[in-house]
């Protein structure tokens, strides 16, 4: 399941952000009449189609896997948290319908109807992502029921959806999807544009890549700059509701007033120390509680049985923050260049900026995977935080290694084909038309 999710989260991110890129490109085309934007819209539509198909089937796999691997979880949680999945089903349905209209309807419907269906694809794609993240947020902050003799009663699905983690997690994940995808695509175009240095402004190939950068960075710059702010929101949620996860993320063993923020470091569960870290005094208290002297509860306060694997959570969290900060810095740089030029336009002469964009291209996806590991592994040993342990939720069927290996192999193959096809469809032939 983790393997399916690790791939699905990327398919889903691209599936959420690419329709927005394609719709903006089409809108630019309708506004400016510049055919390069139509070309872009059509290319990104192909990318959306490939990702949507793969995202759709891998999403199907996941909806079944919930039961195939975690029947205990579904028996317990289905009635409480099935609701957002049902709503996601409808949002996804809408997306499928209008994507069909968009992809195959270029010549069959009016330009406005076509653009509108693109908007609907982008909106319902974002919405289905939000519903799924709400369900995940519930696993971190269960709500909407009472436990009587270990059984959930007084079930209130609306309250479950309005759980304490829902807002911060959905905002964080949605922005992540836009930032990661658009900056990844921007990196590819930056790479080609950089090699066109010295070509005249009117050259079609350079024109194409400049236009692509304009659209992707129009989304990517604000997303990457906003992400640390939403990350702060998420971190403060974790600090209040899941102190044990925060302690693991930070490698904080002792309970301290005015705790320091660690950068780097290798937590050791045996000695209960995190050596090799750069410590910023009072930093953690400040970030987690917006108070220099706030008390941060350390892992030592919690039973050893309730600890997540500290090393993995700490390193994954650090990686996410590192990648995210680098993206925010480069985005700010790109924003400054655009402000100075008074136009969201980049030239092959912006050599250092283009280089930076190339370097950070994979960072968004890496940060997503790292962040996902931090939040999921950080929740262990619980599948529903504080309520249901993972080992009590797993299927009783023996020999789970076989489906695991099969699913992993399948997804690796799918991932490879998708990357190859995207390259073929969007990049390799670009500028030829």
């Amino acid at each position: 399941m983790a393997v399916s999710l690790a791939f699905h989260i990327i398919f889903a991110e691209v599936g959420i952000a690419m329709p927005l890129m394609m719709t903006i490109a089409e809108w630019r085309w309708l506004r400016t009449g510049d055919a390069v934007y139509l070309d872009l819209a059509k290319r990104w539509a192909k990318g959306t189609a490939i990702l949507f198909a793969v995202g759709a089937v891998s999403g199907t796999v996941l909806s079944f896997e919930l039961g195939l691997l975690w029947p205990g979880f579904m028996r317990y949680a289905g009635a409480i948290i099935g609701m957002p999945f049902s709503l996601e089903g409808f949002a996804f349905f809408t997306e499928a319908i209008f994507l069909g209209v968009y992809l195959y309807g270029w010549d069959r419907i009016s330009a406005r109807a076509h653009l509108a269906s693109g908007v609907l694809v982008a909106a319902s794609g974002a919405l289905s992502g939000i519903f799924v993240v709400i369900a995940n947020a519930w696993m971190n902050a269960p709500a909407g029921f009472r436990l009587v003799n270990g059984q959930p009663v007084d079930i209130d699905p609306i309250a479950a959806m309005g759980n304490a983690a829902a807002l911060s997690q959905t905002v964080h994940m949605t922005i992540a999807a836009y930032a990661a995808t658009t900056l990844a695509v921007a990196g590819i175009h930056a790479f080609v544009l950089r090699r066109r240095a010295g070509a005249p402004l009117t050259e079609p190939l350079a024109h194409f890549h400049r236009a692509a950068l304009t659209v992707t960075l129009a989304i990517g710059i604000p997303a990457a700059i906003l992400q640390p702010i939403s990350g702060d929101l998420s971190a403060r949620f974790v600090a209040r509701f899941q102190p044990v996860k925060l302690a693991a993320m930070e490698g904080q063993f002792a309970t301290e007033r005015g705790a320091a923020l660690r950068i780097g470091g290798l937590p050791n569960e045996e000695t209960r120390e995190t050596p090799f870290a750069l410590e910023i005094p009072h930093g953690l208290s400040l970030l987690a509680f917006h108070d220099l002297d706030a008390t941060v509860r350390g892992l030592n306060e919690f039973p050893r049985d309730d600890w997540p694997p500290v090393m993995i959570v700490h390193l994954a969290f650090q990686a996410m923050v590192g990648f995210g900060s680098a993206m925010a810095l480069v985005a700010a740089w790109a924003a400054v260049v655009a402000l100075r030029r008074r136009a969201l336009r980049y030239e092959s002469t912006d050599r250092w900026l283009l280089l930076a964009l190339i370097v950070i291209a994979p960072f968004g996806f890496l940060a997503t995977e790292a962040g996902w590991i931090a939040t999921e592994v950080g929740r262990q040993p619980w599948i529903v935080f504080g309520v249901l342990r993972t080992r009590d939720a797993v299927t009783p069927m023996p020999g789970l290694l076989i489906p695991f290996v099969l699913v992993s192999a399948l997804y690796c193959a799918l991932g490879a084909v998708v990357v190859w096809l995207l390259w073929r469809q969007i990049v390799k032939t670009s500028g030829a038309s």
């Binding site: 192909k46 189609a49 490939i50 949507f52 198909a53 793969v54 759709a56 089937v57 891998s58 999403g59 199907t60 796999v61 909806s63 079944f64 919930l66 039961g67 195939l68 029947p71 205990g72 579904m74 028996r75 949680a77 289905g78 009635a79 409480i80 099935g82 609701m83 999945f85 049902s86 709503l87 089903g89 409808f90 996804f92 349905f93 809408t94 499928a96 319908i97 069909g100 209209v101 992809l103 195959y104 309807g105 069959r108 419907i109 079930i155 209130d156 699905p157 609306i158 299927t395 009783p396 069927m397 023996p398 489906p403 099969l406 399948l410 799918l414 084909v417 096809l421 073929r424 469809q425």
Partner: protein, 341 residues
């Protein structure tokens, strides 16, 4: 008990699940059937048959596929214990079916976007066609195994052997026969739809012949399923053989099946399409109502496996609102791409 007393929120959600399965069979079922005919494409017009199938499926298969996702989410939201039981005991066939679904969808998409070179196209086409054949077989087997009651009887936490809990319930004659029935019916539906959508008469005749042959095959397999039901799936047997309602259903199914064949014979393709759709719907509902009120026989009923009322009521509201968005959208989709057929 009178019929009105069955109209509980749980029964309504169960009805919505049956309806989604029915629509899934009519739409996505035909997409799978198209893959079967891709596999069996033959004669001088082989390539044109394949491209007709691809054009018919391309804009709509993803939307059609979502009906199955709807079935799954409705099932786990409204009937969590039933879902947990099905997913545990049927782990193997469900995983294989998923494998089929993933490969079918990806291969179809990859074929559209990969190189036009023949060898590349043929490789994806092969995967698409084979998985289109295997997946309905598994889907039918899964539904058939639930109807026998064998799935509901298993208790994985007792010490029974792996084979008796995870294999025997579905690997027996009745479920497999239902799998074959699903496959043949889907192929039949696809062939009938394609007679309407064919671009010229030669292609139309190709699919008319296929539709007629698969109609005959479906009748034969249906009789075999019925015979096997007597010993293996008494619930289904009773629903189809005992009482007046069963007789009405039998007569209706026979009349509609003959009507579809007659219409195909007369080349009234639109009428044949309606009859084929009604036939598949009758079979779906005959099975669903026959099994009612059991969800996972022999013990779990629609009531006993249901989630609390608060969840069911909200789910019904969501269904109504969702359908209010979906129905016009779907109508638009089919109007844009299937108008004139």
């Amino acid at each position: 008990m009178s019929w009105a007393s069955y109209l509980t929120p749980a029964a309504l959600v169960a009805g919505a699940i049956a309806a989604s399965l029915n629509i899934y069979a009519l739409t996505a079922g035909a997409d799978f059937g198209g893959g079967v005919w891709d596999l069996l494409a033959s004669g001088d017009r082989k390539d044109r048959q394949r491209s007709l199938i691809a054009d018919a499926i391309a804009p709509i298969w993803e939307a059609n596929h979502v009906w199955l996702i709807l079935v799954v989410v409705l099932l786990f939201t409204a009937f969590p214990p039933a879902f947990a039981q099905l997913m545990t005991v049927l782990h193997i066939p469900l995983s294989l079916m998923l494998l089929g679904i993933v490969l079918r969808g990806s291969a179809f998409t990859f074929r559209s976007y990969d190189s036009r070179r023949d060898s590349v196209q043929r490789r994806w086409g092969r995967i698409f066609a084979i998985t289109s054949t295997v997946t309905p077989l598994l889907l039918g087997t899964i539904l058939g195994s639930v109807a026998t009651g064998a799935v509901g009887e298993q208790n994985p936490t007792t010490g029974s052997s792996f084979a008796s809990v995870y294999v025997a319930p579905w690997l027996s004659p009745f479920p497999v026969a239902v799998g074959v029935l699903a496959l043949v019916l889907f192929a039949f539906l696809a062939a009938v739809y394609l007679t309407v959508e064919a671009t010229d008469d030669a292609l139309r005749e190709d699919f008319r012949a296929r539709a007629l042959w698969s109609a005959v095959a479906a009748a034969v397999v249906a009789v075999i399923v019925l015979v096997l039901a007597r010993s293996e799936a008494p619930l289904v047997w009773r629903a189809l053989m005992v009482g007046n309602a069963a007789m009405v259903l039998r007569i209706a199914a026979t009349v509609v099946a003959l009507g579809a064949m007659f219409a195909l014979w007369r080349r009234s393709y639109r009428a044949a399409r309606i009859a084929a759709g009604v036939e598949v719907s009758l079979i779906t509902w005959g099975w669903a109502l026959g099994q009612f009120p059991y969800l996972v026989p022999p013990d779990m009923t629609v009531q006993s496996a249901a989630a609390p009322a608060s969840t069911l009521e909200l789910l019904l509201i969501a269904l109504v609102v969702g359908l209010a968005v979906l129905v016009p959208s779907l109508r638009y989709l089919f109007k844009v791409f299937k108008a004139g057929y």
